[in-house]
Symmetry: C3
Subunit: 357 residues, 3 copies
């Protein structure tokens, strides 16, 4: 189902925010597959191949009729399972006439699609993204659609927060990040980078959130869930109040949430949020934090955006150069290893693709 | 002269409207060949290769001197036969110095060029496009230059009018088109799709042209002339006045005219007109019909334009997928068969190209 | 160090005007190599590979700290020799961590870099461009960055001034250029085209500079210095005052200066100046001459710019067509032969590349 592409296809990828999908036809490309999304009359989301069986016109250029899609060129109709139910000017319908239907799950306020073998698509495999549910944790996120970089560069970026010191030196960067050792652990499908900075001066952002002077203990616990989710548990607590030992009750806790979908080999969709458990009713704070991340080029994620796309352009110009790695890359390296293992499994022992076509 | 390109080259293709070609140099690409067109002092049109023999600068960037073209870089002069008649700073002219001259005929208000073997270019082979002469039939047409699709997609579009029901549902579409069987006939170089809709309510456009209430008989007789002309004889007459039997005198008759030239493998020039034999002196009607077809994105051909370019983009993304066909495609399929036969003939029995280089 | 590219790499190429390079990081691509330029604290210019050893981000997106460059992603630091002197969050520095440092010389108001084997880069090989020093000869030049043509087309253009008659017919063109024989001489690394037009009416530009009526002797002595410099010694003197014999004291003398750097196979940077020994204190004249050459599309070099880019586009469309040559191309042909010999030398007797990687 894939071959040589830099993304596993037997995985759930975020395709849209739930509130983006309504009774219109929305086109989105995931893993180089064009998909049309729509919400059925029963409220569930459907995801079909976005190319008419007949002459390939994107179905997203047609219209929705009940739970069926009518092609905008010759009027072929496809139901939410992808089967053709009407052909113009003929009674008999070719039984092989269908477009592909993608497994789809709406969970944690995102719509997830499975671009690979449908038989392998289990809802239980949807990544844990519960921080985004809007319950305990609050925040307002966003999406970078068609970010012009290999999706794995976003994973690299998030798994090593050292870059904050250089890319985000005016907000969340801090020399303590550099000075403090970190630890990386990993399981079959996850890798976690943990860094505790004990008894430090807080950086401007966190000093403001904590709202009281003095030294803090700061934590960054970043977990990768293969292949394309990263959760960063971050925060500060007044020094010596027990946070490293498990009592964060005196501190402020946030989490950055990233769910990434490969669009092509060199572009991706990056769904993000920054949520918190403090001042959860403060909608002004939610909006301020959202603007701190993405704000017309001035937010911290805007800064990453510039770096990531420049890095991809450089890779395009130096296609054979391997990456060199530093100690700081340990978290990203484990994420890459897990991704590579998924890719190898999909390609099979002979290098062929195992998944059903 | 071609190899593997999706267009025959031994054919007349429209390159310009006659009134576009004057005493200036006009560049146009036909079948991936850059051509410069100009009108000679005797009124005839000349068509030369648009690249100087010396250093390839487009001759269309030079200037016309009498019936000769002066290159804008070093002043080489080429006559209307393509022979170099002057070289800068030297008396002797390399006898092989020439650019290609293309057979060209001005007929039916269009300039036709023959991009293939000049020895095969017979004026008698110019397609019958007399409806465009401005005599019996009247209308004002236009051109889509560099329409971003394989020229054959335009042929497909015109040979199956079922699409009117979906693409042009607000003007000329009609469920009767779907409900009525049609007949396809073919000869060596033509294919004709004939559909008679008997005793139906006319669609809005035709009701207005007929100007009287009541049921009508409606006809669509669409003829393909290989490789790139389609003529659609269309109209309505009051029901039971004998139109199907040959008496159209009580009705209104129009014709859509299409002459298409491949520009590249994935772009074409589409010269069109819509002419009629009713109210032929009504210039307001001519302009209204012109606007009904192309009007800043709102005309019926504008709607086709959007669909055709989207279809081409989808083909580019799915290069190996074959087209599936429906009953409605019978006319287009015959046109495609005739085009394919022309391509095979040009490539010769061994797959090589027969035409002289 | 190159293979099959249409430019020698063991040569000095202009990368910037001296006054462009300051205490900021400037990115420039020379011979398909991305380079970051900056001025060190001691005033010398440094040129490094513009891609971080670690993850390829252009170093030009980072910042200068003293004489070192700090990468804008993870803070690796490189000194002006390209050696990494700091890695984030680790004490030990991988001794192989470095980026390439390019030989660089600032001379004749230009910054020259050597993209090939550093061991071969001798300052004595910097082309003679002393007319640009601002001493005896005065003028104000400019640069076409990323001119979209193979750099050799610029050499061709300058080595044959016949084109002035056609491309610049309204200013410096003159039929006498066509009527007058010229002579081409060559040495190992230079080729010179000499044309004397004796007792002619001066073209408008030169009549104005001379400022007195009457016939003139006009000279054009254009010298190519391999691989990418062309100097044109041009001027007029009143007829019969001895200029051809060596006494130019009654005339006016200018020189066009061209230093060209390949950027890619089909683009280049073209540094130009037009200097003179007459009215050298007249800054208005300097600006007027600058505008005569480049003036928002209306200068003579703007006219060349249009022709050169059109020629490249034509070459791209006719990749296999060889150039045909005329007598007027004798100077350009010698320049091309010298360039070809340099290319062959770099590729070595077996077609392999001799220079160190």
């Amino acid at each position: 189902m894939t071959s040589g592409k830099p993304f596993p296809v037997n995985a759930w990828y975020p395709a849209a925010w739930g509130n983006e999908v309504d009774r219109t036809l929305k086109a989105r490309t995931i893993c180089e597959q064009e998909i049309v999304l729509f919400r059925r009359t029963d409220g569930a989301v459907a995801a079909l191949e976005d190319a008419c069986w007949h002459r390939l016109l994107p179905l997203s250029m047609g219209r929705l009729a009940g739970d069926q899609v009518v092609c905008g060129y010759h009027g072929l109709v496809f139901n939410a399972s992808g089967r053709c139910t009407h052909m113009p000017a003929q009674q008999t319908i070719n039984p092989s006439a269908c477009v592909r239907a993608y497994p789809v799950v709406e969970k944690h306020r995102l719509v997830w699609v499975w671009p690979g073998d449908p038989a392998l698509a289990k809802e239980a495999l949807v990544p844990d993204f519960h921080w985004n549910d809007g319950a305990e944790w609050k925040g307002e996120g966003g999406t970078f659609y068609s970010l012009k970089c290999d999706w794995r560069l976003v994973v690299d970026n998030l798994m090593d927060l050292t870059h904050e010191t250089y890319v985000h030196s005016d907000s969340i960067g801090h020399d303590a990040i550099l000075d403090t050792p970190f630890e990386v652990t990993h399981a079959e499908n996850t890798a976690t980078m943990t860094r505790w900075m004990i008894d430090i001066d807080p950086p401007p952002f966190w000093a403001k959130q904590l709202g009281r002077p003095g030294k803090v203990d700061r934590w960054q616990i970043v977990t990768f869930q293969a292949p394309a989710v990263v959760i960063g548990d971050v925060g500060v607590a007044p020094a010596a109040t027990g946070a490293p030992q498990g009592d964060r009750s005196h501190g402020v806790n946030g989490a950055f949430l990233a769910a990434i979908a490969p669009e092509t080999e060199t572009s991706c969709h990056y769904f993000w949020n920054f949520v918190r458990t403090f001042r959860t009713d403060d909608e002004d704070l939610s909006r301020a934090l959202q603007r701190a991340h993405v704000n017309d080029g001035k937010g911290v994620y805007d800064q990453d955006h510039v770096v990531l796309e420049a890095q991809q352009r450089a890779i395009n110009r130096h296609p054979r150069q391997p990456f060199y790695n530093l100690n700081i890359d340990a978290g990203a390296l484990w994420a890459r290893r897990i991704i590579d293992r998924m890719l190898e499994q999909e390609r099979g022992p002979q290098g062929s693709v195992q998944a059903a076509e």
